[in-house]
Amino acid sequence: MINLVGEPSPILPVGERGGPAQPLISVRGLLKHFPVKGSGFLKPKKVVHAVDGVDFDILKGETLGVVGESGCGKSTTARLLMQLITPDRGEILFDGESAGETLPLSEYRRQVQMVFQDSYASLNPRLTIEESIAFAPRVHGVPAAKAIARAHDLLHRVGLEPVRFAGRYPHELSGGQRQRVNIARALALEPRLVILDEAVSALDKSVEAQVLNLLLDLKRDFGLTYLFISHDLNVVRFMCERVMVMYLGKVAEIGERDAIFEKTRHPYSSALLASMPKMNPGERTLEPPLSGDPPNPIDPPAGCRFHTRCSFAEDVCRQTLPPLSRISGAQSAACLMAMTNSGHSRAPVQMEA
């Protein structure tokens, strides 16, 4: 761990108190419904079920990848975790402490930072690079000279020479350089968790690879934990220890990378994986694994969210909402086919003793 502040404090810092086995973040029943504009007045109130009851853990030191189609609630989950929007329901436990209650919000915000997709929009065009990076430490009471020194150090760490770049403005930098600045800015508060919301998606491939390697180096050097949101499954496979698949505001499947990529148990995950571009021309997918658009999140289907597009859907799928249930120690899926005695013809059956 880099220590820029000074002496180690006798009290264990936030994020270390629960010990290595305690998940860094535990999300329980997170729910956010956005009201639809123009509804509710002389009309029935409509809401977008953006995030509809989500549970997951992020373990200490891991990279959790989040994948799913556009509109499945990936970014909303990230913003809820960042406390940029307040959840309607649900709890966020940071190292066993409830964020906003036992752990004050300002302390929580030091621990969790975010890198956004749009590298240009996430930097204030009127501030120089060093001012942007030094802003957060200044807010938390670090003296100006020390904050600027920290900004220079971080610029150095993300591969931008402070002598050349610190005094520049965002528009004078390339997309990759700007994203490095955003990463440096996110690290300025020495957080434990960094949320990367499509952080490399807007970069071209060679720059993307550089930034990904930088992220891996920083993770090792600073002891970081990542929540890595992406639609690029190859990148997720490269970066993440565990993967969470989201569909229509719910977790479809979550588990270790190899379990998800090798033996997925949810038909949506397998469709998603089948849509991955293949290097081998012989393995090209000829038919689209999944057709149609996801249903409208204003009016999600009853039962399993995925039954409208699932090729294994049966009557029971239209009636029962499958809970996220553990399949093995490494994997959980929300599918009736993976649940014992669920009533689905493909479900494993266990005889009563």
């Binding site: 880099i2 929009a121 009127r126 501030l127 807010v139 020194a149 150090d153 403005y169 090792r220 050097d221």
Partner: protein, 297 residues
């Protein structure tokens, strides 16, 4: 570089090459704009005339003579002629610059400060606060600006201060609206979210991240209001709601000279020409400023 560092190994305290800031770039582009520079030069000349009016004016602007009434333009000694009371037009126009500029310029910065504050608060707060503030503003906005200015001055009574107050009130809703819409746009940008995520208070975010990005467009809009303010102020004086005779003010001069419009039309039109020149200069300058600020990088 070692994987674990405890000290700062980046060069600290070195001279960082600082890029030219946004405003110095704007200034550079503005200087290269000939139209804006000519307009600015005329504005500066008018301000100088206003300051040094007593030294420039050849005659006392309020001293008339019955035998010299309504001399045409070009009369020896009175190059712009005389008005209906035999006062020298040139001297009156020079002295009129003072009150006309005061009435045109003063309401705008005051309205700029108040209107921006209201608009930025409404835009940043959003939601119900925004709705409450902006719908109240809309009540004022619903009146045509001339009508509102006349009604307010009429209610407050004539006089310079009351005219200034009513003009300021007319401009506040307009500036607040622009400020609100610009702030609402900026507030949605990721860097504001990033600042919120860093735990900064609303006041700090507005000061560091919002103000620098919204004041420019509001400022440009406000400069364009100066010309409107000049015309409205002249209108108020013309109606007898602003400056009172015998003070020299271009709008008031237009009013008193309107009786001479058939006998001596060119002299009667002179104050109007001055109003036109001044307001178009402010307009051209604000256009130049807008262009200079629009360009990216």
């Amino acid at each position: 570089m070692s994987a674990v560092t405890t000290d700062i190994d980046a060069p600290v305290g070195v001279l960082v090459a600082k890029s030219p800031g946004f405003w110095s770039n704007v200034l550079r582009r503005l200087i290269r704009d000939p139209v804006a520079m000519i307009a600015l030069a005329i504005i500066v000349i008018l301000v100088l005339i206003a300051i040094f009016a007593p030294y420039i004016a050849p005659y006392d602007p309020s001293k008339g003579s019955v035998i010299r009434r309504l001399k045409p333009i070009g009369t020896p000694g009175y190059i712009f002629g005389t008005d209906e009371l035999g006062r020298d037009m040139l001297s009156r126009l020079i002295h009129g610059t003072r009150l006309s500029l005061i009435m045109g310029v003063i309401p705008v910065p005051i309205a700029f400060i108040i209107g921006s504050t209201i608009g930025i608060i409404a835009g940043y707060a959003g939601g119900i606060v925004n709705t409450l503030i902006m719908r109240t503003i809309d009540v004022f906005y619903a009146f045509p600006s001339v009508l509102l200015a006349v009604a307010l001055s009429g209610a407050l009574g004539s006089g310079l201060t009351n005219a200034l107050v009513s003009l300021t009130v007319v401009f506040i809703p307009q500036i607040a609206r622009v400020a609100e819409s610009v702030t609402t746009q900026v507030r949605k940008l990721d860097y504001v979210d990033a600042a919120r995520a860093s735990g900064a208070s609303a006041a700090t975010i507005i000061r560091v991240h919002i103000l620098g990005n919204v004041l420019g467009p509001i400022f440009v809009f406000a400069t364009s209001l100066i010309s409107v303010s000049m015309i409205l102020a002249s209108g108020l004086s013309f109606l007898g709601l602003g400056v009172r005779p015998p003070d020299a003010e271009w709008g008031l001069m237009l009013n008193t000279l309107r009786t001479a419009i058939y006998s001596n039309p060119f002299v009667a039109a002179l104050p109007g020409v001055m109003i036109f020149i001044t307001s178009i200069c402010f307009n051209l300058f604000s256009d130049g400023l807008r262009t200079a600020m629009d360009v990216k990088s």
